[in-house]
Structures are given as C-alpha cells and as structure tokens.
Amino acid sequence: MASYLLRRVIATIPVMLIVAIFIFLLLRLTPGDPATIIAGDYANAEQVAQIRESLGLDQPIATQFVIWLGNMFQGDFGESFFYKKEVSELIAARLEPTLSLSILTIILTVVIAVPLGTLAAYKQGSWIDRGIMGFSVLGFSLPVFVIGYALIYVFSVQLGWLPVQGYQRISEGVGGWLYRLILPSIALSVIFVAFIARMTRTSVLEVLGEDYVRTARAKGQTETRVLMRHALRNAAVPIVTVIGLSFAVLIGGVVVTESVFTIPGLGLLTVEAVLARDFPTIQAVILLFSFIYVLINLIIDVSYTLLDPRIRY
C-alpha cells in the first residue's frame, strides 16, 4: 500500500515537470523582453539591465528554469506586472471565492447527477431514460455563460429573487455567502450534471450486463439491491474517475462563471491578467490550477484502493 502510494506520487512528478516546462517556456516565448515590460515605459537601459540581472534573465535558460522552479516551490511566484504586488498575495486573496464556487458546484453535481444516471440506466429505454439523456445532450451543449445570463435574466432581473452578481466572504455570514453563490453554482453545474449523469448511466449499464449481476439475480436478490449493492458498487471506480477528469472542465467553467457573475476569484484574476498581459500572474495561476488538478486525480487514484480490492500494492 505504501509503495503503491509512493509510486503514484512519483508518477505525477514527470507530469508536473512537463506542465512546468511548458508554462515556463510560455513566458520565454512572449513577444518582448519581460525586463522591459516590468521596467515600464520610462525606464532607461541601465534600469532594464538591473532588472534583468535581478530576475536572472542573463543566465542560461536551463539555469533560469531551475531557479524559477525553485522559486515556485517556495511559493514565490514573482511580482505581478500589472498589480505591482506579489503574485502569491494576489492568489491568496482570490482563493476563497474560487474554492467556494468549485466545491459547491461539485457537491450539487454529484448529488444530482449520480442518482439521475443510475435511474436512467435502471430504466434503460424508457421515457425516463430518454428524458434524462435528452437533458444531458442539451446540458453540455449549453455554454456556461449562456446559462448564466439566462438564469440572471429570469431569477435576478425579472423575478428579483437573487442578486445579479458579486460575492460575499463566508466570514461575513454563511447565509449571504450561499445566497450569492446559488446562481453561479447552478449555472456551472449544468454541464457537469449532464456529463456525469451520462457517464454514470454508461458505467452502470455496463456493470448491469456483467455475469455477477446475473449471479445476484440467480440468488433471488431484489432488483433494487442488485442495483445498489452490486451495480453501483462496481460502477464507482469509473464514475469517480470521470468526476476527477471533469475537474479540468470545471476549472475552465470557473473562469467563465466568475467572469459572468463578477466573482473576484482566481478565474477573474486569470482573465484580468491575460487582458493586461500580466505573465507572472498567468503563469502562476495556470501552474496552480494544473497542480490542483493533478493532485485531485492523484487522490482519486489512491481512492481506488478503497473502492476496488483488486487494485492494491
């Protein structure tokens, strides 16, 4: 078990390294010299040279990469070109809204999607199944921002039940926090509900065709228990895998949703940074998001050992 964990952790290192190399090269590929950009329009050549030296830009590129990576490891993401602040500070300030939105969305998604998908599989071919699947195709054809604006228009502009946009920190009251997050998380969860319901259906259907389900029926087990005890239990691994993989899409959705609902999180920070060509911030945010994604999938990989006894060591 310990060695399995160790191997899984080690296997993520090359992946993270490739992510880091890619993102590092991204900054190097930027048109123009970062030192010139940082120094601003009114700097003279000497100042630029000084900045270049302080950033280590006069070193060979491999050395620069190692220094950069070392800094990243220590949480030193450099200084934002645009905000003239430490990127790590910026990120720390923007982390809470993004985490809140993501976690709420995931909870909402799993609670709705897994039962829907299971039901569709169980009632395969019926109108319930076709209805759920129809909704699912529709769901991931609707872009997040279209859903977002449609929801705002109906519930905020027309009915006036919920706020149009904005965010309230959880420390200022859970009620207000939730009140402002309802619409964004619903908007964001539609596509995931669609996706995960569909995958749940596929996985459960596949398991329902397995020999051991027939064995369970031959024992005289009731259909409900066949479904709960044998089918869902075995479908758990693929379902959890898909939930893990969908985090990548979720992160993309967060960027858009925060933009629509003006939630001051990491997604909005990303958009602002791109518009301002604030490369240290872009780099840091992408690296952070990718790291979180790899980490989540690592956790999910390890969770397989709990879900499936065949995966051990």
């Binding site: 499936d308 006894p309 065949r310």
Partner: protein, 546 residues
C-alpha cells in the same frame, strides 16, 4: 413436496426477436429431472441449450419471450410465476452456476459475503450465523482453510476455487434443482475433473436434481444419468445415458458422436523427412526488474528444444499458462524470443532483425484460434488471400488464380472471394484462414488452438482438412492445443508443457499408452469420458502420410 420430478419441462417454446434466423430459440422442449439425477442437455452452439436453462430460472434476456409450455419446478410453473415468487424460489429451491467463474463473482465483495447474501435474502439468520454457515458450506465443497478464505476477494482465488465458491453459493440452502450452464468449459482439464467430481459428490449426498448444460460429450459421458440432445432449438434425442451414448438413434447424435475425437491415438509410422524447423534452448522472459517493482519476472518459456520434420505434425499440449502458445508465437516471430535459436532449414531466425526476417516470413504461417478475429472485417476474402503472395512479388492475377484454387481445396467456392468475412460461419472462416496460410506455400504451418473455438462437428472437418493439406504439401505442422482428444488424433509426436517447461516428449501413441511424467499422467487421467469410445479417428490421411 414428495414429487416424482424436481423439474418437469413440457412443450417449452421461446420466441426469438423478429429478423433472427429462425422464429424460436427453442421449440416444444419436454424433459424431466428427477431428484438425485443428472440430466445433461448437450448440443452445439445455437442449439438453444442455454436458453432452456435460463427459461427455467426466469433469467431470460428481455429480447427472448417464452411463448408456450410449462417449466414445473416441483409442480410450480416458473414461466408464469410472479417476479417476487420467482425471487423466492431462486436460491432456495433452484440455483444456478455459470460458465465463467472469473466473472460470475462480484469482484469487490468478499466471497464469504457473497455466499452469505443468499442466506440474508432467504433466511432470518444473524450476520454471525450467516458467516458460520458460509464457512461450513465452503468446507463442504473442499475449499482449503475456509476460516481464512471466507474473507478473500474473488481475484485472490484460482478459477477452480471460484467455481467451488459458486457451487457453495448455489447449494447453501439445499435447492432441489441445480442448473449448471457449461460450468467447466472455461477451466483447465485437471480443474474440470475436480469440479465434475465435486458436482457429482454434492448431488449424490444431497439428492439434488441437476440440469447440466454442456457441449462436451466427454463431460456428458462422465456425469450424465440421462441425456437430452438438442439441435437448432429442438430435441433430437432424449434417453438414458447408455442408450444415447452407445446406441444413438438420431442421425444427428450419431454424427456428433462420430465427430468426437477418440482418446486412443492411431498407429502412426515415424516420419523421416528432413528437418523443417529446429528450436534450441528457447527462452521467453516477460517483465523486467526495476527499483520500484520487485521481481515481476515471468519465465513464460524455459529452455525449450523441439524439431519438426517435413510432413510431420508435432503437437504441443498443456494447460493455460504452460507457455505452449508462446513457443508458437516465437517461432512465427510474432514475439521476440529472449534467447535461444530457431533454425528454418538452416537459417537462424530467432535473433535477426525484422527486415532481415521478411524474406523468411513466407516459410512460417499460422492459423489462429478465433475465426471471428482472424480476418480483417473490412477486406474481402480475396483481398485477404492475395495479400501475402503479392507481398512476395506475385502479380495480382496470378495470386487471385491461386486463391481461387485454394478456396476449392478448402471446400469453398471460388466466388466466395468477393464476399466479406461476416458472411461466413466460424468453420468456413477457419477454412479461409487455412487457405490464406497456404497461399505462400509455407514450409511450417502453426495451428494455434486452431480448432478449439469450433463446434465438434465442424472441428472434425477442419482437423481432416489440416491433416490432408499436411500430406498434400508435405508440411511441417506445429499443432498447439489444450484438447487431448484432438492431439491424440492429429499429432505424430507430442510435447507436453507445464509452466514453460517441456515435461514429456515422444511419439503420440507412446505418450498416451505409457506416460512417463506424473503431470502427463494427471492430464490424461483428467480427460473426461475415458470409458466411452468415440468414433472419430482421422485415419485416411494419417495412413497415407507414411
């Protein structure tokens, strides 16, 4: 409850969906199973034998609907029973075991819990009592150390052990009827013998009526009290074991019986042709050591020596994992041997590069087990047949002419060349594969379980074909099989492999009559239906071959 029969099937008809090749999966099926009796339903694929079993259990797939008849389980019709009543009956009065022990158990649940589940559904026992009962029944089916094994997961057990768990699960509530659907087909022959023995033992001790579905006449001869022979959804013969096996009346039964290869190898004179292929100290090792994973090395083939002469058939027999197919694939260079020498007519091919090998590819051709995957579904038979000759420089017209002749040779018509594989049956496809192998006039033909996936009647024909072409083309044939009956009939000499090593080697007749190695003896003893003499000896070609 004192019924004369535990199961009485009368006039059972199950409809197939529209646009199937026939209207009914089974038609007007009637037979009975008495307590303490084993009734074998035997037939080839598509005969409807499994449908019959599923209909009794109420486990038919939705597409199949029973249209008429009765299946009386101790007088109660399971065809018309309510779903809930059916559930009550399953596990308590009728139980079923299946073909694939590898997939029939839930992989994420402990085996003890899976047995206890039956008790949980049908009894009011406490969890502790259920566990105790599970251990007892596991002991009864002779599983080692049941106290420990009760907490094992299926993947930790062997195929035979899993099938024992299935049997334990089926018998834990002492059902009156046990339905066994090809329960030993997926098992190795030695394991099969043990499971058959167990089923017989349990059935005798508990007086269970057993409905045993199988395609294998050897198994039938081993355990049946009475026999139902099915063909195309109908019963063609039904009677006592000895009547059916020794004095079959229906022509179909006679044909089937005649098709089962005999366990007695015919007299074959030693072949003296020149050596076509010679293998020396062949080794194939899978996996490598690294600092993260401890020794995960598998020695699939270890120091194998063999030699095949022109015009001779060398058989390699062994159970799964014996390395017999690995040897074949090394000789065909579909995998690279780790070490050793393979010499084709003096040309060393074990270690040469793919480009150096290409001109020699022609000399070794192979026929695979699965006829459904052996032909590219997107290409016509003609395209498949001319591929090899054209690779070696033949003009298309010439290659097509040869292909046409070969089709005639393997018993198909020349216009089959324009068709696609899906338009042919399994046996026909295997003939096509043989024709394809012959198209480049190979010196060595490898048949890797080439008749194992075929029904027995088709198998006999394909075996005959293989033997005929060996004689006609003076081929060196390497025949890989797990089936000792087939090996007895087709091989001049035999190699017995176990765990990657050759344990015995000699002329087929000598090996069968006087086995030297204990493992060979074990294998031969395990072959079912020893007492029964079956018809098929592939005499004519073998006689000419000398």
């Amino acid at each position: 409850m004192d019924q004369k029969y535990v199961l009485e099937v009368s006039g059972l008809t199950v409809a197939l969906p529209k646009n199937a090749d026939r209207p009914n999966a089974v038609e007007n099926i009637s037979f009975t199973v008495a307590p303490g009796e084993i009734v074998c339903v035997v037939g080839e694929s598509g005969s409807g034998k499994s449908v019959t079993a599923s209909a009794v259990m109420g486990l038919l797939p939705d597409a199949l609907r029973p249209k008429g008849g009765k299946t009386l389980l101790q007088g109660e019709d399971t065809l018309t029973a309510e779903k809930s009543r059916l559930r009550d009956l399953r596990g308590t009065r009728m139980a079923m075991i299946f073909q694939e022990p590898m997939t029939a158990l839930n992989p994420v649940t402990r085996v003890g819990e899976q047995i206890a589940e039956v008790l949980e559904i049908h009894t009011s026992m406490t969890a502790a009592e259920r566990r105790q009962r599970a251990i007892e029944i596991m002991e009864a089916v002779h599983l080692p150390d049941p106290e420990k094994m009760v907490d094992a997961f299926p993947h930790q057990l062997s195929g035979g052990q899993r099938q024992r768990i299935m049997i334990a699960m089926a018998l834990v509530l002492d059902p009156a009827l046990l339905i066994a659907d090809e329960p030993t087909t997926a098992l190795d022959v030695t394991t099969q013998a043990q499971i058959l023995k167990l089923i017989k033992e349990m059935q005798e001790r508990r007086g269970t009526g057993v409905l045993f579905i199988t395609h294998d006449f050897g198994v039938v001869a081993e355990i049946a009290d009475r026999i139902v022979v099915m063909q195309h959804g109908r019963i063609v013969e039904y009677g006592d074991r000895d009547d059916v096996l020794r004095r079959p009346k229906a022509p179909y039964t006679q044909m089937l019986m005649a098709s089962v290869p005999s366990m007695t190898p015919p007299e074959r004179s030693a072949k003296t042709g020149e050596t076509a292929v010679e293998v020396k100290t062949l080794n194939k090792v899978y996996g490598k050591t690294s600092w993260l994973s401890k020794d995960r090395i598998v020695h699939a083939v270890q120091d194998v020596d063999l030699m095949v002469r022109k015009g001779e058939t060398l058989g390699i027999v062994g159970e799964s994992g014996s390395g017999k197919s690995t040897v074949a694939r090394c000789i065909a260079r579909l995998i690279d041997p780790t070490s050793g020498s393979i010499s084709l007519h003096g040309t060393e091919i074990a270690t040469i590069s793919q480009s150096q090998l290409r001109p020699h590819r022609r000399k070794v051709q192979i026929v695979f087990q699965d006829p459904y995957r052996s032909l590219n579904p997107r290409r016509t038979i003609g395209q498949s047949l001319v591929e090899a000759p054209m690779n070696f420089g033949m003009a298309e017209a010439q290659a097509l002419k040869i292909a046409r002749d070969l089709m005639e040779l393997v018993g198909l018509s020349g216009d089959a060349l324009e068709r696609y594989p899906h338009q042919f049956s399994g046996g026909q496809r295997q003939r096509i594969c043989i024709a394809r192998a012959l198209a480049v006039e190979p010196e060595v033909l490898i048949a890797d379980e080439a008749v194992s996936a075929l029904d027995v009647s088709v198998q006999a024909q394909v075996l005959k074909l293989l033997d005929d072409i060996r004689v006609k083309y003076n081929l060196a044939m390497l025949f890989i099989t797990h089936d000792l009956r087939v090996a007895a009939q087709i091989c001049d000499r035999l190699i017995v492999m176990q765990k990657g090593v050759i344990v015995e080697h000699g002329p087929t007749r000598a090996v069968y009559q006087n086995p030297q190695h204990p493992y060979t003896r074990l294998l031969l003893d395990a072959a079912p239906g020893q007492g029964m003499t079956f018809g098929s000896e592939i005499a004519p070609a073998a006689a000419q071959g000398s």
